[in-house]
């Protein structure tokens, strides 16, 4: 006899493969650099109740949970009885989709034998939605561009042409936007076709038994992982640079028998620039950080995500309310793992890494307004990750985001810039028994006699990554213009004049454990490799006799 659990498991594997296929198809067709370099997309399959069954593991964690919640919201907004085969719904509302206007979410009901048996959904980052463009300078959401509330984009296979025209008319990149929206539609349809194909192949008429199996198995596994944790409430405060003034992020993490609750109560209020974070996005990165430690081997779905709950007072900077500007919500959103780990490390001191650079070091460069040679570059250079409890941090490596760094040769091919340096920053990794990862040092200038415009939104200039368990802090980021050694703040618009050189030093990760406990071999290797200077080896790692 065919054992039914094996069949269910085979179907589960199939769903996981289908969402990955959808994700790959979306990335291949994408126009937005952030999508192709970072895989900033999401694809998922949902049951008829809107419960997420499978989600692609894509480049960035910004869609974890976000998409699961978004589909639930749309399922409440639109009655299933009104849905027709070939319908597709859409929104880019930051508080529903993924935290800023660039992320478009599409959802399609899947019909089988005239019934809605589930949904497919996908999200992708579009290049430009008008407004002030992607940057922190907007003072409310209306400055940031076009917001499309949940609506029907495709009706029984017919695309709403007016809607598409509105999206194009409100963008600096209308053709790319149209291309990306069609890619999203194709992604929904392909997922729907594959799902129906699977149901035929396995001869099932609905997803009930399968979704119960997936969700229950995952919930059980997650609860077992939670059961093994110490119980209680742990608090932490993380100080971050902010836009003009420094900001305190507060969290209390409660580990209960059957769930985890993260509460941002005490966190500072929203600010007047677009670094505010809707709760869905803060939740995505917080839950990602928790799931790296707790039940990392269980796929994301309604069952594995359900025990992770996140809340925060409305209006705090991690639960921004409309019409707050949110375009650069990732700057602080990506700091939430360090906030969460500050709590979790108290409960699990030997499993949680030290703080890292965390926020990705974007280097968006554009031509100056008066320049004839027009270009736009979205470069990313990462700092170091925090040291792990049993191993050094990773140098110049993205965490928590999954963004890819840029290559010098391909960058110089598409923009009039020349790099003079890209090397690891000696001594930038926080000292410790295990050393923090090193940041990197970039130097560049314009190749032509024209100015460059730089749009900064980075963290850890004033507040470096803290070490843990006696480990020392990593080096803070440092952005200067030479000659003249002009220090730049981490946020805002900067003009780099022709002939000047921009020096961009990314932060190092914090160390873990007391530096004097680092092994002689490891110190020697660091010095021989030039990662640590003789002076730092003497000063920070000298043994206490």
């Amino acid at each position: 006899m065919i054992q039914s659990d094996t069949r269910l498991q085979v179907m589960w594997n199939r769903l996981l493969a289908v969402v990955e296929e959808q994700g790959q198809a979306l990335i291949r067709a994408a126009f937005s650099p952030i999508v192709r370099e970072c895989g900033d997309i999401s694809a998922g399959i949902f049951d008829a109740k809107g419960r997420m069954l499978a989600q692609a593991v894509t480049g960035t964690p910004g869609h974890i949970n976000t998409m699961a919640e978004a589909v639930k919201t749309l399922c409440v907004r639109f009655a299933q009885s009104d849905m027709k085969p070939g319908d597709i719904y859409m929104t880019n509302d930051p508080w529903i989709a993924s935290g800023h206007l660039n992320d478009f979410l599409l959802m399609m009901p899947v019909f089988y034998r005239d019934q809605v048996i589930g949904y497919t959904a996908c999200t992708s980052h579009l290049v430009d939605l008008g407004g002030l463009g992607m940057g922190p300078e907007g003072s409310d959401i209306f400055d940031e561009g076009l917001l499309i509330p949940p609506c029907k984009l495709v009706s029984q296979g017919e695309v709403n042409a007016l809607l598409l025209e509105i999206v194009k008319a409100n963008s600096r990149e209308p053709i790319a936007n149209e291309g990306d929206i069609y890619a999203l539609i194709a992604c929904c349809e392909a997922g729907s076709d594959r799902l129906v194909q699977m149901m035929r192949e396995f001869d099932i008429s609905d997803l009930r038994a399968l979704s119960d199996y997936i969700i229950e198995t995952s919930r059980r596994g997650t609860l077992a992982a939670i059961a093994a944790l110490p119980k209680g409430t742990w608090r932490h405060v993380l100080r971050v640079d902010g836009y003009d003034d420094e900001i305190e992020l507060h969290a209390a993490l409660t580990i209960a028998d059957d769930h985890l609750l993260l509460d941002f109560d005490g966190t500072a209020s929203c600010v007047g620039k677009g670094i505010n974070v809707p709760l869905n996005y803060a939740t995505a990165y917080s839950v990602f950080a928790l799931r790296c430690i707790i039940g990392a081997d269980i796929p994301n779905n309604a069952g594995s995500l359900d025990p992770f709950r996140v809340t925060g007072p409305k209006g705090c900077i991690l639960n921004a309310q409309p019409p707050a500007p949110v375009a650069m919500r990732h700057t602080l959103g990506q700091m939430t793992p360090d906030l969460v780990y500050g709590c979790l490390s108290q409960a699990l001191p030997d499993r949680v890494p030290a703080e890292g650079a965390s926020c990705m070091y974007d280097l968006p460069l554009r031509h100056a307004p008066e320049a004839t040679d027009q270009f736009a570059l979205e470069l990313v250079f990462n700092g170091g990750t925090g040291a792990r409890p049993r191993i050094d941090g990773l140098s110049a490596t993205a965490f928590p985001s999954g963004v890819w760094g840029s290559q010098i040769e391909t960058t110089e091919a598409v923009a009039p810039v020349l790099f003079h340096r890209r090397e690891l920053r000696q001594d930038s990794g926080g000292a410790g028994r295990f050393r923090g990862g090193l940041g990197q040092h970039i130097e560049l200038s314009a190749t032509k006699n024209q100015d460059l415009m730089l749009f900064l939104s980075v963290e850890r200039i004033k507040n470096p990554a803290s070490g843990r368990d006696g480990g020392l802090d990593g080096a803070p980021g440092r952005i200067t213009v030479q000659p003249g050694n002009r220090h730049l703040p981490g946020k805002g618009e900067v003009r780099i004049r022709a002939g000047e050189t921009l020096s961009f030093e990314t932060p190092g990760g914090g160390g873990f454990g007391l530096p004097e406990h680092r092994s002689e071999d490891a110190i020697l290797t660091d010095v021989q490799s030039g990662l640590v200077s003789h002076e730092q080896a003497q000063n920070l790692y000298r043994r206490q006799k």
């Binding site: 006899m1 067709a29 091919a413 020349l418």
Partner: protein
């Protein structure tokens, strides 16, 4: 009576076995041998295999007019870290190209992730002043005064090889060439690899990695190739020896010794070449080759009789089957997806109660539990045995004693117990999981390539390919399968069907609408001269074929599409046709074009090859006749999950035109073809078995 004139020999040295195949002038297999690989002196094992097949054919060395050799030696040297002590020299200010890489973790949730070891430690990475810009113009001159100091440093580091990779050297190699010449004055014994020769493509990290990998194995491979040639010459071999490359072509010993990185992964390429030639002979334009062995399964898409190619693959992954966890190597390769699913793949139950099969493998040593060689973990082979699909007495021609009870015990303990299943059900479940994972990998690979699996013919070979073909095909919605002759040594047979060829891919960034055809034609002339020189040395008299391509994309996209170019100088009037060709292919892959978008080209390719050896022919299929089974076995049906009787046939007995209906087992020396109950089988005039799924058996 065997004609001993014009025999050709193929030798495929793998990690465990060396496969040797002898073909006659008509490209029929005359003899095959599987001998143990001799890792200390691989040429010895090759000689043993060659002597074996020549003996079988009653021929001797004089009759051999061609020898084609493929080896995993370079691959294994990279995996086992047995290469030379290697240093790098990069542009001043860019010492950490290797350390920084793509700034990325290959596994999103792995907090304790360790990055792959990229061979050269930071202590061995040196730099030199001098800079080219993206167009190949010199920004600052090479710091020639520093070369003596570099040579001293290299001596102090006691390195044998050095990889030189300067920024934009693909656009202007002057600094790399000058540095090599100056270094030779100070350190004449140093083996030097130059990035613009090994891999002239933009993207400094990939190019540096490729150059390092080449430098690292070069001393070892040069020594090996010399030893191999000497030993075969001593035996009396007089014909040229050609080496199989990852790109599916053959090259000379001289080129192989200079660019040994091109030999990596050449064995599996042979299988894809064989499948492509069979596709051509049978006029099958859409094919998936499915090569399942003891450790992994390899899938390759073949369209219009050409295996899909790629410009990049990964070696020495930190996690073998996780993409991005290894070292990128940018050379022209036959693109294959490799997954950890083979006969030796181990089954286990994870803490969620989910059955997992692979990627860990018991290999052939200790091997599956049933081999009784110390392996006690249940494997795919143990499951197939329990399902009745393998006849214990005839497995590996009876040379291996098979213990079905040991298979049962292992299945019970590691799978049946935790999942509350009997051994039959456990075996059934293992088959379901592993077959689904292979079918899933195939579907995924097709999607990533902008292609579809449905309607493709599967060509299955390898020790386990014919056994799992119907089960995998059904899950991938594929309805037709072909099992070639000698499927167990398919890769070596494939070598004998490869042309002498060389491919160059080079970066030159341009927009299609402002194409500088004059500059581009000169650029292609240089590539053609380079490729022809290599091919001429291996095929002095043959008329040469050429293939030119451009890798095009819309400005702003990351994914490039390969577009064929005419084999001649381009003029401005070609631009319209190129745009149209791009749009046709783009809309085929993405269902629509994007009007108004600028099209750009970053890379250009040119391949020169000799015509492929003798065209395979497929005689007309004679009148069908029912085949006569030699017996029957009880098998657990993969459709119903119930035990039933299956006919057993000897493949050697099946004449052209033989026809049979599943469930059935067709047994031969190195493998068994399993014909599921929903398939029937016929044998064509060339001895290929065709498996076809029956309409009525479909749901």
């Amino acid at each position: 009576m065997i004609h001993t004139d014009g025999l050709r020999l193929a030798i495929d040295i793998g990690g465990t076995f060396t496969d040797t195949v002898l073909l006659n002038r008509a490209s029929d297999v005359v003899a095959t041998a599987k001998t143990p690989t001799t890792p200390q002196r691989p040429a010895l094992g090759a000689l043993a295999g060659a002597a074996h097949v020549l003996d079988d054919a009653g021929a001797d060395w004089r009759h051999v007019t061609g020898l084609i050799h493929g080896t995993t030696l370079a691959t294994n040297a990279l995996i086992e870290r047995r290469g030379a002590a290697t240093a790098t020299i990069t542009t001043h200010g860019f010492r950490d190209i290797l350390e920084i890489a793509y700034e990325r973790r290959y596994s999103q949730y792995a907090i304790d992730l360790v990055k792959p070891d990229l061979i050269v430690p930071r202590t061995h990475s040196l730099t030199i002043g001098g800079r080219m810009d993206v167009s190949g113009h010199e920004v600052s001159p090479l710091d020639e005064a520093h070369v003596a100091a570099l040579a001293t440093e290299l001596k102090a580091l006691e390195v044998e090889a050095v990889a030189i990779c300067l920024l934009h050297s693909y656009a202007n190699p002057a600094h790399e060439l000058r540095l090599r010449d100056l270094l030779a004055l100070h350190a004449p014994d140093l083996v030097v690899s130059l990035s613009h020769e090994v891999s002239p493509e933009a993207r400094e990290f990939d190019r540096l990695c490729t150059t390092i990998a080449n430098a690292y194995v070069q001393p070892l491979m040069a020594g090996y190739l010399q030893d191999f040639e000497t030993r075969f010459r001593q035996k009396g071999l007089s014909c040229p020896i050609l080496m199989m490359t990852a790109g599916g072509g053959m090259t000379t010993l001289e080129t192989a010794a200079r660019l040994p990185i091109r030999l990596v992964e050449s064995g599996p390429a042979g299988g894809a070449i064989l499948a492509a030639r069979i596709a051509e002979a049978t006029s099958e334009a859409s094919v998936l080759s499915f090569d399942m062995g003891g450790t992994t399964a390899k899938l390759c898409l073949i369209d219009d009789f050409r295996p899909q190619t790629a410009r990049k693959f990964e070696i020495s992954r930190a996690e073998r089957f996780i993409r991005g966890s290894g070292m990128p190597v940018r050379i022209p390769v036959i693109e294959m997806i490799e997954i950890g699913a083979g006969g030796g793949s181990i089954a286990s139950v994870d803490r969620l109660g989910r059955l997992q099969v692979g990627p860990h493998s018991a290999g052939s040593d200790p091997g599956p539990a049933a081999f009784g060689k110390g392996g006690d973990k249940p494997t795919v082979t143990d499951a197939d045995l329990t399902l009745g699909l393998i006849e214990p007495a005839r497995f590996a021609e009876g040379r291996l004693k098979i213990d079905p009870d040991a298979a049962h015990d292992a299945l019970n303990r590691d799978v049946g117990g935790p999942l509350a299943l009997g051994p039959d059900q456990a075996a059934f479940a293992i088959s379901e999981i592993v077959d689904e994972s292979m079918a899933g990998a195939g579907r995924m690979h097709a999607v990533e390539s902008g292609k579809d699996l449905g309607n493709r013919l599967m060509i299955a070979f390898g020790g386990n390919g014919p056994l799992h073909a119907t089960r995998v095909a059904r899950r991938a919605q594929m309805r037709r399968i072909l099992i070639p002759r000698d499927p167990g040594v398919g890769s070596a047979v494939g070598f004998l069907h490869a042309p002498v060829s060389y491919e160059v891919i080079r970066s030159r960034h341009t927009r299609l609408d402002t194409l500088d055809t004059k500059g581009l034609n000169q650029f292609f002339d240089a590539m053609q001269a380079e490729a022809e020189q290599v091919v001429r040395s291996g095929a002095p008299d043959a008329p040469l074929l050429q293939r030119r391509v451009a890798y095009m994309r819309y400005h702003g996209q990351g994914h490039e599409i390969e577009i064929k170019l005419p084999n001649r100088a381009l003029t401005h009037s070609d631009v319209g046709a190129l745009k149209a060709a791009f749009e046709v292919e783009y809309s085929r892959q993405f269902s629509r074009v994007v009007p108004g978008m600028v099209i750009e080209i970053l890379n250009w390719g040119l391949a020169v090859s000799s015509p492929p050896p003798a065209h395979l022919t497929c005689p007309e299929v004679p009148r069908l006749h029912r085949a006569v089974p030699t017996g029957s076995r009880q098998i657990l049906c993969d459709l119903t999950g119930r035990w039933r009787s299956a006919d057993v046939f000897n493949r050697a007995d099946l004449a052209p035109g033989a026809e049979l209906t599943g469930p059935a087992l067709i047994v031969e020396a190195q493998t068994t073809t399993f014909v599921s109950a929903d398939f029937n089988a016929t044998v064509d005039g060339h001895g290929n078995i065709w498996l076809t799924q029956q309409q009525e058996a479909q749901k």
